[in-house]
């Protein structure tokens, strides 16, 4: 298996990162060598995410599953308990399962599980929680933009030079 290098290049702004990403993409298309490319930034930048190559976000599927599960659980909770208490609960001619009243509980449960599943979906999609990699700089949380790369040994020097050419402030490596 070919040796790989993990690098984090820090840049002063998004424009410089964009230029570097485009050039790395072109290089990778021609001859490969860049195994993985990710950006870390203090704020979200949807346009640059597109340039890197947006991976699909699946959070909404979790949300939908949670909401549907909540709706069903809400119904089962109210209807199930009403049924189980049927022998002791005097209904006085009213419906055993009062749908209009139960709709309120179902609505709240839909939201409750929908919210929880959305958070789970985010954690799943963002691969969190996780231990921080050694390739991290607190300046990314401040004002610098980072480019995380995994490159093959054969392309290591070229990629490094390319990063410096694009005004990288610092290039950190994971030994």
């Amino acid at each position: 298996m070919a040796k790989r290098h993990h690098m984090l290049a820090l840049f002063n702004n998004f424009d410089e990162v964009r230029e570097a990403i485009i050039e790395l993409k072109v290089m990778d298309l021609r001859e490969g060598g860049v195994e993985e490319m990710r950006m870390t930034s203090p704020i979200p930048h949807p346009e640059l995410e597109e340039v890197i190559g947006a991976r699909p976000v699946l959070v909404q599927r979790f949300t939908f599953t949670g909401a549907m599960l909540g709706l069903i659980c809400g119904f089962l909770l109210t209807a199930g308990l009403a049924q189980s208490m049927f022998s002791v609960q005097p209904q006085g001619g009213k419906a055993v399962i009062p749908i209009p009243a139960d709709l309120i509980i179902m609505f709240e449960m839909t939201i409750l599980l929908g919210v929880w599943f959305t958070v789970f979906g985010f954690l799943f999609g963002a691969r969190l929680p996780r231990r921080r990699s050694h390739l991290y700089s607190r300046r990314v949380g401040e004002d610098q933009v980072g480019l995380l790369l995994e490159v093959l040994d054969s392309h290591y020097e070229r990629v490094k030079n390319l990063l410096w050419q694009h005004k990288a402030l610092e290039v950190m490596e994971d030994s």
Partner: protein, 459 residues
């Protein structure tokens, strides 16, 4: 007049300013915490006294079984309303000025809900039997009645508390990572644990954005439903003055009104305590005041609707309660509430008032006192003049109820003070994002106009 947040403020400076507010507190901060603790302790003593001697000590007796406790409950649920609702609504409408304010508003929501949740328990009297309301099969011959608004209430408040706290925490994750990187000791461990290893990769941001949008979509209808359900506690009964179709929207409007006023109060306190003049700017306060005025007008309108339907509805019991409010023993309180509730928001139309902090904090606190009185005037006059004349009776609070009420304000203040000292009270990444987009737009405009001026690339 002070301008919007400066475009040239450095991003690192934003971090420093917000993190500085979480550093060692001043002596005045501890003095305030101490004062709050003392008042809370008096409230706890009053509550213990109530356990031993019974609910009569709180002057709760037929027909006045709800009194201050339920008035407090509605008030605090109402205060909680504005934070999350405004945060979610302004996020969905892409309102830029929301960014520096929403964190403290959301914190206010969670803290107010934690305060509100105490009151139904205190109101029960036998607090140790609280678990009886939980819906699970049991052998006590008790079962949850899903037709009861009281059970809807419990489910709604539980959902709202859960969702609001998750929404608050979720939005804080990137800032917790910044705090982690700049802290030491127990703070570093706490933030490190709470930040979940966030490093701000494109994958994390993409999922974060989508999740935040979905949460906001849930929170908006949830917040409206919660106060509608609280209103249903009243509206589903056949009591005169409560059995009104417009009560749920009236509650929602009243909640937003008091919540907005509370946000103004906290805005001013935070601005001065933490020297946030750079971020919590006067134009934002100006917009908050205008929003409060608009919401207050909805509340005024719904009040008029309620009065006119009671007056022209020809329900004699309904009319009797209205006349009783205006002329009976509660008249002074009711008229104070009406005059201040309707009159105070008009002062927000005056530019000078919107820019004068001292006047504004006074007005916002007065609005909240007014809205508290409004809650009391919803509860007690109806119970005083119900359908059965043999059980008519008025409620005036004793020291137990008063102590617990003041303790709730101290509890709320204490929790909020603790929050803003432990967690970032201004969203650092959102302020940066706002400035970035603003610069982006101004740079593009400059480029299009062919100006020679160098493009702004400050960070």
């Amino acid at each position: 007049m002070e301008e919007e947040i400066r475009n040239d403020i450095k991003w690192a400076q934003i971090n420093r300013d917000v993190l500085h507010s979480m550093a060692s507190p001043r002596r005045s901060y501890w003095a305030l915490i101490g004062l709050c603790l003392t008042v809370v302790a008096i409230g706890v003593y009053a509550e213990i006294h109530q356990y031993h001697t019974g609910m009569g000590e709180a002057r709760l007796n037929r027909p006045q079984m709800w009194g201050f406790y339920i008035a407090n409950f509605i008030f605090w649920v109402g205060v909680s309303h504005a934070g999350t609702l405004l945060s979610a609504a302004l996020f969905l409408t892409n309102t830029e000025w929301r960014r520096p304010v929403y964190r403290s508003a959301e914190a206010m929501t969670s803290v107010a809900l934690l305060t509100a949740a105490i009151f139904p328990v205190i109101h029960l009297g036998r607090v140790w039997d609280f678990y009886w309301v939980l819906p699970y099969p049991n052998e006590r011959g008790l079962w949850p009645n899903f037709r009861s608004p009281l059970l809807w209430d419990m489910v709604a408040i539980f959902t709202y508390l859960n969702s609001s706290m998750l929404f608050l925490y979720y939005g804080m994750i990137p800032d917790l990572a910044i705090s982690r990187d700049n802290a030491s000791g127990w703070r570093r461990r706490l933030y490190g644990w709470m930040a979940l290893g966030w490093v701000g990769t494109d994958r994390q941001w993409r999922n974060f954005r989508k999740g935040y949008l979905l949460l906001a979509c849930f929170l908006l209808p949830l917040a409206v439903s919660v106060h509608s359900i609280v209103a249903s506690d009243f509206a589903m009964s056949i009591m005169p003055g409560w059995h009104v179709t417009s009560l749920p929207p009236y509650f929602v409007a009243g909640a937003l009104y008091s919540g907005c006023a509370a946000i103004i109060t906290l805005f001013i306190i935070l601005r001065y305590t933490f020297r946030y003049e750079e971020y919590l700017t006067l134009p934002i306060l100006d917009k908050l005041c205008k929003l409060t005025f608009a919401i207050a007008m909805i509340w005024v309108y719904l009040n008029l609707i309620e009065f006119s339907s009671a007056w022209y509805g020809h329900d004699m019991f309904e009319k009797e309660v209205l006349i009783e409010k205006a002329t009976g023993p509660y008249a002074a309180i009711w008229w104070t509430m009406i005059i201040l509730g309707i009159g105070l928001p008009f002062s927000l139309l005056i530019k000078w008032v919107r820019r004068n902090m001292r006047v504004l904090i006074f007005i916002s606190m007065l609005i909240n006192i007014t809205m508290w009185l409004e809650r009391w005037m919803i509860v007690s006059p109806t119970l005083a003049r119900n359908h059965e004349p043999y059980s008519w009776g008025y409620h005036w609070p004793g020291w137990v109820e008063l102590s617990i009420t003041f303790a709730s304000f101290a509890w709320f203040t204490m929790l909020f003070l603790l929050f803003v000292k432990i967690f970032p009270s201004i969203s650092m990444y959102e302020v940066k994002e706002m400035l970035y987009h603003r610069r982006h737009v101004s740079d593009r405009l400059l480029r299009e106009s062919g100006s020679d001026r160098p493009l702004t690339v400050e960070k």
